[in-house]
Subunit: 403 residues, 2 copies
């Protein structure tokens, strides 16, 4: 069960963007598993991809197509097979799926960006694409965002999507995003995919900057299990059909709206993390640098012992100290450190507060949304990340997945 | 249940070393929880300690005493309370326990090295030391190694100890070691303690070098959950009573014997890791450097998804690739990589072997002792580490510990 998260009941259409989802039976039966997103001509796209060196064939191909062409026309997404760990053959299969679509649609192959999510190490069958893409093209519609959000799911328990509208220069810009993923990774069903589209007009280079900035504090500020997928991909499309032109001069409001959509999608992924019973925010403040703050936040977030204490609703703050203490940072002065669970302070200047009572910590840990706040008193930079707990359900999902 | 590990039924006495274990009721009832080790005058000691910045009060004090004095007379160890996260007060308590013993035994305070293991964040009571140390001193005997191994246990399910004898210069050197710990860490019951004693005579500086070398491929080559304890300590004592003098010239056999004892103790800790059902060896070979090989080995060993696959006996090699791919190393050429489970090869030159059949992988994963071998074909350095799997029992132990 996701933590304080429900599937969206409606998502706003974005001018110039149409979608469809069909049953291709690539692995799943009786559900949509092939999603097509079309952008009208003249739009721009930006993307960020996994840094995993064993990245999947479609990730390599997608990155290449986007580098040749920042005005792609189609995003082609399948669920059920990741096409990762599949060698040269897998790359050929990914190319074939793009070619099938580009021929049907009368565009170039590099107008198609391919994405796959699902089991690693099995070859992607090409026949289902040939059979299903004609109807996928026929069914393209502005109103299919929720169908698309559902069609890209793997172990997700709810579909994830967000819409937002802002006024820029007196006109309305609509932004809608969808995402899938029950963690940074579940490499069997690999993994995080997210698509955000808007109808603003924006040059590809600036769009990439906006996306990079938005990702830093959203998709790059989450962890379920420290594992990085072979298939993580996030694409931002700008169709330009709202008539609003975004430049450096009016970028701020647009940036904030994209940030908000990315943060909400990233949080949704953590709220639906494998086996999650808690949604945990870790804030590190007064650090010498952002990297310093993030290293400490991530070390706490990744610690299996902190995560099992969170699962147990156990205010076992010794484990948090242990994780902070093993962070890979220089010159950490533990005698300056303060620690809070929610609004309850546990430590000041590195010493346990005499006034702290276990019941106070228990009250904070009993909540579903928990905040761990760490003040280093060693600078003026902060970082915030989101994570989940480590439950029996996590072990069950990941141990029994293939059985 | 430990993986292919039984408690020792006998351990060899080491000349010049006596031990005792008594019931001090520091936290546990009806079991020995205070262990005393005495070394005769003129022996030498070397130690290695946790790098965790929130290290416990006794670790700081022990490190200080050993820096002032490499010929300590007593090791004073309690189980049940880690005296970590206890601030200035905790340091004073650790000093008091050393003073009580030094006064009773007529030695200096820095002749005593203190060690604590147990719950973090609770103040260590001093009264039980006052009450129990007189009888601990009375009961010192060469034959109490097993009692001592049992007395330092916390969540360990079996006592851990190893003895070894070697001939050097025509005389016999006896080495006995004991250890406790169910992982690199379990910070509630923190954590790894190990004591190795021998009756060779060796200068403190060389003894420290021998220990550092032995640790690199033993205690520093294991992980349960990537978490580093606040209390990890390992001490090597050399009483000198065998009449054998170790120098740089005859160091090799001695070094190898100490290596063997440390490796066996380190392996014992992994075989008894929290919730372990598998003992896993990860070998990375033909790497550009040892650090490079270790980073990859540790990333695989720490991956929750690899660990849950191991628990499930699932030959899910995609997870191993994923973990290798996210290792923090430069210039990893995945197209050169070969991978084996046991003697079964899965990947050659980065491509899945067509001849591989899932049944072969299944046969390897069904074993309790599993070896994952990764050849990078990018150099001539190798590294080997040991780890355990991630089971429901691990979550149970760490989630339910305080409840």
């Amino acid at each position: 069960m996701p933590v304080n998260l429900q599937a969206p009941t409606s998502l706003l259409a974005v001018k110039g963007i149409t979608l469809s989802a069909v049953e291709a039976n690539i692995r799943y039966k009786d559900r949509n598993d092939l999603v097509l997103i079309e952008m009208s001509e003249g739009g721009t796209a930006a993307g960020v991809f996994t840094l995993n060196k064993f990245c999947a064939a479609p990730v390599n191909l997608c990155r290449q197509h986007l580098s040749e062409n920042t005005s792609p026309r189609y995003l082609l997404i399948n669920a059920g097979n990741a096409n990762a760990g599949t060698g040269e053959k897998g790359l050929n299969h990914a190319k074939q799926t793009c070619s099938i679509l580009s021929e049907l649609a009368g565009v170039n192959r590099h107008d198609v960006l391919p994405f796959s999510t699902g089991v690693i190490g099995e070859q992607l069958p090409v026949a289902p694409f040939k059979a299903s893409l004609p109807s996928a093209l026929e069914q393209l519609s502005e109103d299919n965002w929720i169908l698309a959000a559902e069609g890209i799911m793997t172990t997700d328990t709810v579909a994830k999507g967000v819409s937002k509208q802002i006024e820029i220069d007196g006109k309305t810009v609509t932004i809608t995003g969808i995402a899938k993923g029950s963690g940074m990774i579940e490499p069997n069903m690999a993994t995080l995919l997210a698509y955000v589209a808007c109808d603003a007009s924006i040059e590809a280079e600036l769009l990439q900057q906006v996306l990079n900035d938005a990702v830093a504090d959203s998709f790059n500020a989450i962890t379920v299990d420290a594992d990085t997928s072979t298939n993580d991909s996030l694409v931002l499309l700008a169709s330009g059909r709202s008539g609003v032109i975004i430049t450096e001069n009016n970028r701020d409001d647009f940036q904030q709206a994209i940030n908000a959509v990315c943060q909400q999608l990233a949080q949704a992924i953590i709220r639906d993390a494998e086996g999650a019973t808690k949604f945990v925010t870790i804030e590190v403040e007064s650090a010498p640098s952002r990297a310093y703050a993030r290293e400490i936040a991530y070390t706490v977030a990744r610690s299996p012992l902190v995560k099992t204490a969170l699962f147990a609703s156990d205010p076992n703050w010794g484990r948090i100290l242990m994780a902070i203490g093993r962070s890979n940072v220089d010159d950490l002065d533990v005698s300056k450190l303060s620690l809070w669970l929610g609004n309850t302070q546990l430590l000041a200047a590195g010493e346990p507060l005499e006034s702290y009572r276990e019941e106070q910590g228990q009250r904070e840990m009993d909540k579903e949304d928990i905040t761990i706040r760490i003040a280093l008193n060693a600078g003026d930079t902060a970082a915030r990340i989101w994570t989940s707990d480590l439950s029996h359900e996590y072990v069950t999902i990941n141990a029994e997945y293939r059985s």
